[in-house]
Symmetry: C2
Subunit: 226 residues, 2 copies
Amino acid sequence: MVAMATKIQKSERRPDALSKERIVGAAIEILDTDGEGALTFRALAARLATGSGAIYWHVADKSDLLAAATDAVIARVMAAIDRGAEPREAIRSLALGLFDAIDTHPWVGTQLTGSPWQPAMLLIFEGIGGPLLVLGVPERALFDSWSALVNYILGVAGQNAANARLHGQETDRSAGLASVAEQWAQLDPARYPFLRRMATQFSEHDDREQFLAGLDLILAGIGTVR
Amino acid sequence: MVAMATKIQKSERRPDALSKERIVGAAIEILDTDGEGALTFRALAARLATGSGAIYWHVADKSDLLAAATDAVIARVMAAIDRGAEPREAIRSLALGLFDAIDTHPWVGTQLTGSPWQPAMLLIFEGIGGPLLVLGVPERALFDSWSALVNYILGVAGQNAANARLHGQETDRSAGLASVAEQWAQLDPARYPFLRRMATQFSEHDDREQFLAGLDLILAGIGTVR
DNA sequence: ACCTGAACACCGTTCAAGT
DNA sequence: ACCTGAACACCGTTCAAGT
């Protein structure tokens, strides 16, 4: 049978019609503004001035919605990455881009893990591995090096998300750090020699700097493979 | 006022009385057997042959319950760690102990992050930092080295938990790996040179080995600091 | 002091009914 | 084709009432 010209349905719809993009956009707003707990189908329907069931016409279920929202944010990050930089710098740039994205959208960190089929994830994977090729990492160390970087970068992403989930944005971070540091300072020095010594540094540390320092240690480790 | 001798209430209770320990034990069984989604106060009450409200007498809320369950598992892991080994080996032993514990109790990985006040977490922190002192890592690199290891170890823990949450234990892992690898093998080699090359290795990789390889890369990186 | 279980205020998801 | 919103089967948590 000869293919018939199919009418483009989308363009006929009224401009405020529901679409997966509009739903995902509204979901991102809710997630960013009020946190993961605030994203309910009822809240989403209210914001979109529709019924909760209408959303299911465009979205399979809540995990589909979260995956789509994550994909949208990650795609934006990846588009902004500094291509063609020195390989180590390219990896740092990608890693920091992800770190900052998760800092502003903590819920992304929760989602980011364990869906290696999402297109955004492919971009991340290649964005970490590609520079390793350029760097001339020996064949036998390629996979281990890539895997270490991916595990580290996505792992820290998840941690930050969990931290953000734990204490909402209102909590005074430096006060929290100070109280932990004080607890460390009072530990038995015979049993906790390390934490005692690190108390001050812990109270002054910056998560982003530590993230980058760890990344550089892994890159240094990769550099030792000859 | 002079302290009065207080009767020890606990010993008078009937042996099957509810206690936080019994509740936590039952919760761990449910979590291990049926997963995070199956731990509800109703299911827990049914297993303990009591009312759901009774649990609240011993446990503040669900997050308290999860924290206590996590603490119990971690404490067991830490007790089994090989103390007094060569420092690098001590770190590996601790890391693998955590990895394996999360492999059998995936829900622990979800919890493990972001509660640096839990006693079990202190043991982990010191267990990673202590060997760095023995290793003679220079003062200025101590905190970065510790932070990188902690971020990596807990990060991968969280990832594994997310993976386990994603596809329940019934999913055939090697089939999943193979299908991802096949997808990679068909990517455009101009845009995805790395993933194309890694497809085979990805399909054959072992998470535990990759975890250890990454840890060794970080330790190698720490070794470059003089 | 500790336990019971109904009740409350939520969820995600479905589905008959509308346009 | 798309939308509506009530209904269903759950949750965590509370609380009056029991022992």
